[in-house]
C-alpha cells in the first residue's frame, strides 16, 4: 500500500461536515404491471472530501441514483440534502445554482460531447459558468491551458477539433479538465473508465484522486468493479436491486464483508483473495 493510500484511509470522514445525504430516496419507473423500482428507499451520508464508491451489478440502479443526485431526474419518494439542508431545485435558476456545486463525468465519453461543436467550446462554457465571462481572451486561454495540463493534454492541439477527432481516453481526460475548471463541491463519476482501455483507466483514476486531493471535493464514484472500489475509495456502498445492502469504510466492507451479495461480488474478483497488496496495474486490469 502506498503512503498516499495509507494517509487517505486513516482519515475518519464521519467527523467531516456532510456534503450530500439522502433519506428514503426512491425511484419508481412506470406504473401497474410495468412498475420497476430502480432505487428503493436508500439512505446515505457523503462527507466533504470523501471518495465514495457505489458498487453494484448492471441494472442495480446506480445510474438512476446518480441522475437523482444530479437533479436530472426527480425522485419518487424521499429527500436529498445538500450540505445538510434539503435540496431545492424547483426552478431553473435554483438548478443552475445547484449545478455549480455538483458536476458529473458520464460513462460513455463518445456520447458526452455534442458532435457538432468544437471541444474547446466545452471548456469555455465552464469558465463562463464560473463567472469568467468578462475575462480577457488571454486569461481564458491560460485557464484552459492549465486545465489541459492537469490532465496531460495539450490545449493548443485540441482547439478547432471536433469530439470525434479525439480518442475515448482523451475525451474522458477532457471531461476531467472540465471538472478542474468548474471546481464543484461534489463530483459524480458514473463508471467513467468502463469505455476506455486499461492504460487510460489507470491514468484517469489517478487524475480523479489528484483532483480530490487538490480541491478537497467529494467524489462519488460509481462502478461495478469492487476491486477498483477497494483501490481508490474511502467509503464503499454496495447496491443490490436498488437497495444498499452494506456500506462502510472500504477496508471494512471488502476485507470483512457481511452481506452475502458483497461476498459474491468479491469472489467474482479472484485476485482480491489471493494477494492483498496488489500493484496498481494488476487490479486495474480486472474487469
Amino acid at each position: 500500500m502506498s503512503e498516499m493510500e495509507k494517509a487517505r484511509r486513516s482519515v475518519d470522514f464521519a467527523d467531516k461536515p456532510l456534503c450530500l445525504s439522502g433519506r428514503g430516496v426512491t425511484k419508481v419507473f412506470g406504473i401497474g404491471d410495468k412498475k420497476t423500482v430502480a432505487v428503493d428507499h436508500v439512505d446515505f451520508d457523503f462527507h466533504e472530501g470523501e471518495f465514495v464508491s457505489i458498487v453494484g451489478e448492471s441494472g442495480s440502479g446506480k445510474t438512476t441514483l446518480s441522475k437523482m443526485l444530479l437533479g436530472l431526474l426527480g425522485q419518487s419518494e424521499g429527500q436529498i440534502l445538500f450540505q445538510g439542508k434539503p435540496r431545492d431545485i424547483s426552478s431553473g435558476r435554483k438548478k443552475k445554482e445547484y449545478w455549480k456545486g455538483i458536476q458529473a463525468i458520464f460513462q460513455d465519453p463518445f456520447s458526452s460531447f455534442n458532435t457538432f461543436q468544437k471541444v474547446d467550446a466545452v471548456l469555455l462554457d465552464c469558465i463562463n459558468m464560473r463567472g469568467g465571462k468578462g475575462l480577457s481572451k488571454q486569461d481564458k486561454y491560460d485557464m484552459m491551458t492549465e486545465a489541459c495540463n492537469f490532465v496531460n493534454l495539450k490545449f493548443a492541439e485540441l482547439t478547432n477539433k471536433y469530439p470525434f477527432e479525439l480518442s475515448g481516453g482523451q475525451m474522458q481526460r477532457l471531461m476531467i479538465a472540465r471538472i478542474f475548471l468548474l471546481k464543484p463541491k461534489i463530483l459524480l463519476a458514473d463508471e467513467p473508465t468502463s469505455m476506455v482501455d486499461a492504460c487510460s483507466r489507470a491514468t484517469i483514476l489517478d487524475m480523479l484522486l489528484n483532483l480530490r486531493d487538490e480541491t478537497g471535493m467529494t467524489v462519488i464514484f460509481i462502478t461495478h468493479d469492487i476491486g477498483l472500489a477497494y483501490y481508490i475509495s474511502d467509503t464503499v456502498y454496495i447496491m443490490e436491486h436498488g437497495k444498499f445492502v452494506e456500506y462502510g469504510k472500504a477496508d471494512e466492507v471488502i476485507l470483512q464483508p457481511k452481506a452475502p451479495y458483497t461476498k459474491r461480488l468479491i469472489s467474482d474478483v479472484p485476485k482480491i483473495h489471493e494477494e492483498w497488496d496488489l500493484s496498481t496495474v494488476d487490479l486495474l486490469k480486472t474487469e
Binding site: 438548478k95 449545478w99 458520464f106 460531447f113 457538432f116 459558468m129
Partner: protein
C-alpha cells in the same frame, strides 16, 4: 458539415433528383426572358389551337413568291385534306356497293381516289342509306373533284368605283419563304381553352406551384418542428396538450380540412400565398410526430445532460444540442412537404378550390381549366398532358433527392 454536403453530392440518386429540379428552375427563370409578357394573355380566339407553327395568311399573301415545281406537292395537298373519317366513309361506300377493296391501303391516297372515281355513282341509292348520308357522299365527291383539279386562287379587292377586281392570283406552285413572312408564331404546346399560349402559361404555373410548395413546406415544417421539439423535450403536460392537438389534426383527414378551410375562405380571399399557407397549416402533424419521437430519444443523451449541468438555457439546449442532430431529418421532411404541397394545390384546384383564377396560373388551375373545357375528351392533350408531366417530374425529382439524402444519413439503407 462540409463533409456531409460532399457526401450528399456523391449520392447518385440525390444528384439526379437535384439536376432535374435545377433544370426545372432554370427553365422557369430563363424562359420568361426569351418570351416575356403576361402568361395569361389571350392571344387566340377560340379554344385549343393545336401545337405547331402558325403563319399569318395575310402576310403570306403579301409576301413575294418563289415558284417551286415539286413533284409530290399535289399528292401531299390531297393527302392532307382528305381526312381519315372521309377515307373510312369511302371504304364503307365500297362495302355497300359490293366493290372489292382487297389490297387497298387506306393511306394510299392515289389508289383510293382512283377507285372512287371509277366506281362512284351519284345516282345510286343504296338500300337503307339515309338521304343525309347520300348527300354527304355527294359533297365528298365534289371536294375530291375540287382537290384533284389544279387551279389558282384569286384575290380580289374593291377598286375606286367599288367593283371587285382581281388583284392577285396565287398558283399552286407559289411558295413564300417563312423568313420573309412578317408574322410567324410557333406555339410549341398550342393554346388552351381561353386561347392562351400553353407553354408560357406552363412555365409561369410551374413557378407559382413551386412557390406554393415552398411556402406550404416552410409553414408545415416550422409548425411541426416547433411542436415536435417542445412536446419531445419538455414532455409532461406540454407534451400531452400538443399531442392532443396533433391527434385531432391527424384524425380529421387533412385534405377534408383543407377543402373546408379553402371553401370557407371564398374565391376572393384565395390568393396563391393564402392557399399555400392553408396547405401548410393542415400538413404539419406528420413532422411534429416524427420530430417528437426523435427528440425523446435524444433528450436523455449524455451530451444533453452535460449541457444542462453546464447551466445552458432551454432554448440553447434545444437549438444547439438537439436541433443539429435532427437537422438532416428535418430537411428530408421539408422536401417531402414541398412535394406534397404542390400535389395538394393541384388536387384543390382540380376541385375548383384553388387560388383565384384571374391572377396567376398554377399547375392545378391549368388542369382544372383543361378539365372544365373537356380537353381530355376532345383530344387536346397539349392542354393537360405537359402539366401532368411537370407535376410528375417535380415530385419525382424531390423524392429522388429525398431517397438520396436518406441513404446518406441512414447508412443501413445504402445498397
Amino acid at each position: 458539415m462540409k463533409n456531409t454536403i460532399r457526401q450528399v453530392f456523391h449520392s447518385p440518386k440525390f444528384v439526379a433528383g437535384f439536376a432535374i429540379f435545377v433544370a426545372i428552375l432554370l427553365v422557369m427563370f430563363i424562359y420568361p426572358l426569351i418570351n416575356p409578357g403576361n402568361p395569361l394573355e389571350q392571344i387566340g380566339v377560340g379554344t385549343f389551337a393545336k401545337p405547331g407553327t402558325y403563319i399569318s395568311l395575310y402576310d403570306a399573301a403579301k409576301t413575294n413568291t418563289q415558284t417551286l415545281r415539286l413533284p409530290e406537292a399535289a399528292d401531299n395537298r390531297i393527302a392532307a385534306r382528305l381526312s381519315m373519317d372521309d377515307r373510312v366513309e369511302m371504304i364503307n361506300w365500297f362495302g355497300t356497293m359490293n366493290i372489292s377493296v382487297e389490297g387497298l391501303d387506306i393511306n394510299d391516297t392515289d389508289a383510293l381516289i382512283e377507285l372512287w372515281n371509277q366506281n362512284y355513282d351519284p345516282s345510286a341509292r343504296p338500300e337503307g342509306m339515309t338521304s343525309a348520308k347520300i348527300n354527304y357522299y355527294k359533297r365528298l365527291n365534289n371536294s375530291i373533284a375540287e382537290l384533284s383539279a389544279s387551279d389558282t386562287i384569286s384575290i380580289a379587292d374593291y377598286d375606286e368605283e367599288g367593283n371587285l377586281a382581281v388583284t392577285k392570283t396565287i398558283s399552286d406552285t407559289d411558295y413564300v419563304n417563312t423568313k420573309d413572312v412578317a408574322n410567324v408564331k410557333t406555339l410549341p404546346l398550342g393554346t388552351d381553352n381561353f386561347g392562351r399560349d400553353v407553354l408560357k402559361e406552363l412555365v409561369s404555373a410551374t413557378g407559382t406551384s413551386i412557390r406554393i410548395g415552398l411556402i406550404a413546406g416552410i409553414v408545415a415544417t416550422l409548425i411541426g418542428l416547433t411542436f415536435g421539439l417542445l412536446a419531445g423535450y419538455l414532455g409532461g403536460v406540454v407534451d400531452d396538450i400538443i399531442m392532443f392537438v396533433t391527434n385531432i389534426f391527424t384524425v380529421i383527414p387533412s385534405f377534408v380540412l383543407l377543402i373546408l378551410i379553402t371553401y370557407s375562405l371564398g374565391q376572393e380571399q384565395r390568393g396563391a400565398a393564402i392557399v399555400a399557407i392553408v396547405i401548410g397549416l393542415t400538413s404539419w402533424t406528420w413532422t411534429a410526430r416524427s420530430v417528437r419521437s426523435q427528440v425523446i430519444s435524444l433528450r436523455n443523451r449524455d451530451h444533453v445532460n452535460l449541457s444542462k449541468l453546464s447551466g445552458h438555457s432551454l432554448i440553447r439546449i434545444v437549438v444547439m444540442d438537439i436541433l443539429p442532430y435532427i437537422a438532416s431529418y428535418v430537411v428530408m421532411a421539408f422536401i417531402l412537404q414541398v412535394s406534397s404541397g404542390i400535389l395538394a394545390e393541384a388536387q384543390l384546384s382540380l376541385l375548383g378550390l384553388g387560388p383565384k383564377t384571374t391572377q396567376v396560373p398554377t399547375l392545378g388551375l391549368m388542369m382544372n381549366w383543361a378539365m372544365l373545357y373537356s380537353a381530355h375528351t376532345n383530344g387536346s392533350w397539349w392542354a393537360y398532358f405537359p402539366v401532368i408531366l411537370v407535376i410528375t417530374l417535380i415530385s419525382f425529382s424531390l423524392n429522388l433527392m429525398n431517397t438520396g439524402l436518406d441513404q446518406v444519413f441512414n447508412p443501413t439503407l445504402r445498397d
